[in-house]
């Protein structure tokens, strides 16, 4: 395993992308998921339970992906950016 190219800063950023970026993405998914389901007629409580059941499976997947993907910038962009966009969409839909 070549580790010479991996600097401590890279590891820190990668970890933050997986954990914080991943959290942001899951937050966005939950918000948008609930908002969409409620718009489609599901009750809020039901939609929230459903989103919670899926949220941590999704978190596991995006966490692994953040370490698997070659580009660190892409990981940050997709996770944090995607999370922010989904949160905004969900908020707009619900208000």
């Amino acid at each position: 395993m070549k580790t010479a190219t991996i600097t401590p800063l890279h590891i820190l950023s990668r970890t933050a992308a997986a954990l914080l970026g991943g959290y942001c993405f899951v937050w966005g998914f939950t918000t948008l998921g609930i908002a969409l389901a409620v718009t489609l007629g599901m009750s809020f409580g039901e939609a929230r339970t459903l989103s919670y059941l899926l949220a941590f499976l999704l978190f596991t997947a995006v966490f692994c992906w953040a370490f698997a993907t070659a580009s660190l910038g892409r990981a940050w962009l997709l996770l944090a950016g995607g999370g922010a966009v989904m949160t905004l969409l969900g908020w707009l839909l619900a208000n």
Binding site: M1, K2, T3, I6, H10, R14, L19, V26, W27, T30, T31, I34, A35, V38, S43, F44, G45, E46, R48, T49, L50, S51, Y52, L53, A55, F56, L57, F59, T60, A61, F63, C64, F67, A68, T69, A70, L72, T87, G90, W91, A94, N95
Partner: protein, 555 residues
């Protein structure tokens, strides 16, 4: 991150598994003990060693208990700080209730009072008592239920109360458990073969990896479901979207639900006497039986007690099924008529209830409970062998010596040190004087001190010699054996409940079970200590003969 997907996953598995492994070890071990938390309570509180009791009569017993209860002094102090002044002498109760399971001889009763706080209309404080449901005798407040009040909260909060930080740390650890399972499967590929591979005769590095893979694969579904359901149980804390970005639909839902249920939201402000709750219990039981699920009351809650808008909620104990307490029936407290009967759960709610119940295991099925303990201990084995593999693999590399020593000391602390601490709290429970003020707090202090001492010992004895483990492992095994046997003997001396009595003449499984588990732990610890001694001697022999070029790295 690295050249190939599998390399990236291996890196992730190794380093995150290592760092969060120390937390996971505690979560798995104290989770396993929590399966028998009520039984550990009986061992720790000899005055509560009697048979489990059903929910007592409200009209004859509980009705006299609740009005005389008060909020906890610490909560009142915190509330005074929040409002920056004195509280009224009499706080208005918001609700009170009682909770029991098929394993509880004593009953937990709790109250909630509103705090007049202009900044927060929902500000409240709590009161709590444990009583003997046969006669209403209250248990002294400073008795620690080591199982349900210490080991169990340690399992999900690490007892780090501040901002619920402990529960967040356990949440990250549970996520890493899921990640470690997924990445572990990706690294290994040959899952079926791992089930049948264990070569204890090989080098420590090889045999520890075999056991790591074996335990990881054999209990894979168990570990996955428990990490996942643990996260969903606390999802409201981790992802509070309804309280932040989605307040509008969340509030609308709450109002809608309240209206459709017809349950009063606010107190009327007019006092009114409460009708017979025992009659409501009869009615609820009749309704459960009509639904084909006869059962007992597990949870009873009175909202706005003493008010005209008061209502009584009765929930069924989930002793006979996986899903948790439920099937609530709500009564008007003044008239005693049914206000609302909860319908069967929807598919989504049913899955959630099933997962929650599966994790919290309130059902009455003893062999299954032991399987839970086994699953949890397999998790511990998986993590512990992961630590050993990590250090063994790096012992040949001189530049890793400092890292290896540190990881090994932490591993000793997380594995044997944790068991030493658990044994110590049981011994302390039997040795501390009954009249000692804040006795329960002292037991907790002794627990943490013992763990700290085990850590210091692990650092002091640490070394990095390939093929031989730090002597701290062996020495702490002896400490475990000594503590476990001492706990059993002390239980006998201080309570008279020896195994012949609890097993044969006056059978009482909660105490006999823990005594037997302690003796089994002692036997395993002694066996392991001898095995480790043998290995240390063999390594020392090889070393002194100089037949192998071993790099002995000492700090």
């Amino acid at each position: 991150m690295l050249q190939t997907f599998r390399q990236s996953m291996a890196w992730l598995h190794t380093w995150f598994g290592l760092v969060l492994g120390f937390v996971l070890m505690a979560v798995f071990f104290f989770g396993s003990l929590s399966v028998f938390d009520r039984e550990i309570d009986r061992w720790a509180l000899p005055e509560t060693r009697f048979e489990p009791q059903p929910m007592p009569s409200y009209d004859n017993l509980l009705a006299d208990v609740f009005p005389n209860m008060e909020a906890e002094e610490e909560e009142l102090d915190a509330a005074r700080k929040r409002i920056g002044g004195e509280l009224p002498a009499q706080l208005q109760p918001v609700g009170w209730g009682a909770y029991t399971t098929h394993r509880d001889p004593v009953l937990d009763v709790f109250t909630e009072y509103s705090v007049p706080n202009p900044a927060d209309p929902f500000d409240h404080v709590h009161g709590h008592l444990t009583l003997d449901p046969r006669n209403g005798t209250v248990l002294p407040h400073d008795r620690l239920k080591i199982g349900s009040e210490f080991f169990y909260p340690l399992h999900y909060s690490l007892h780090i109360q501040w901002q619920q930080l402990g529960t967040w740390i356990v949440g990250v650890a549970a996520l890493i458990m899921l990640v470690a399972l997924v990445s572990g499967v990706i690294i290994h590929r040959r899952l079926f073969r791992e089930l049948f591979t264990f070569r204890p005769g090989k080098r420590t590095q090889r045999s520890s990896l075999d056991l790591h893979n074996l335990t990881g694969v054999v209990a894979l579904p168990f570990h996955f479901i428990f990490a996942l359901s643990g996260l969903t149980i606390f999802a409201f804390l981790y992802l509070p979207v309804g309280e932040t970005v989605l307040t509008t639909p969340a509030q609308a839902h709450l109002m809608e639900e309240a209206v459709s249920r017809g349950l009063p939201f606010e107190p009327a402000g007019e006092p009114a006497p409460i009708a017979s709750v025992d009659a409501m219990v009869m009615e609820a039981k009749k309704r459960w039986a009509e639904r084909g699920m006869p059962g007992e009351v597990g949870f009873l809650w009175v909202t706005h007690p003493g008010d005209r808008n008061s209502f009584v909620s009765l929930f069924r104990a989930g002793s006979d099924r996986v899903a948790f307490v439920g099937q609530g029936v709500h009564f008007d407290a003044v008239s005693g008529r049914v206000l609302y009967e909860e319908p069967p759960p929807s598919v989504v709610a049913g899955i959630n209830e099933f997962l929650t119940g599966l994790h919290l295991q309130h059902f009455e099925h003893w062999p299954l409970r032991w399987l839970y303990v086994l699953g949890g201990l397999l998790g511990c084995t998986c993590i512990a062998t992961g630590f050993i593999f990590f250090t063994e693999k790096r012992k040949r590399n001189l530049k890793d010596a400092a890292l290896v020593r540190r990881v090994d000391a932490l591993a000793v602390t997380a594995v044997t040190g944790m068991v030493v601490a658990a044994g110590t709290i049981l011994v302390a429970n039997r040795l501390l004087p009954v009249a000692l003020p804040h006795r329960g707090t002292w037991e907790e202090v002794v627990f943490w001190l013992a763990w700290l001492l085990a850590f210091a010992h692990a650092i002091w004895r640490g070394r990095a010699v390939p093929g031989s483990l730090s002597p701290a492992w062996r020495e702490q095994c002896w400490a475990i054996a000594l503590l476990a046997v001492t706990a059993v003997v002390l239980n006998w001396i201080t309570t008279g409940d020896h195994l012949l009595k609890t097993l044969i003449t006056e059978r009482y499984w909660p105490v006999a079970g823990l005594d037997l588990a302690l003796l089994a732990s002692a036997a395993i610890a002694i066996r392991v200590a001898f095995l480790l001694r043998g290995r240390e001697r063999a390594t020392a022999f090889v070393d002194s003969q100089g037949s192998r070029a071993l790099e002995v790295v000492r700090g």
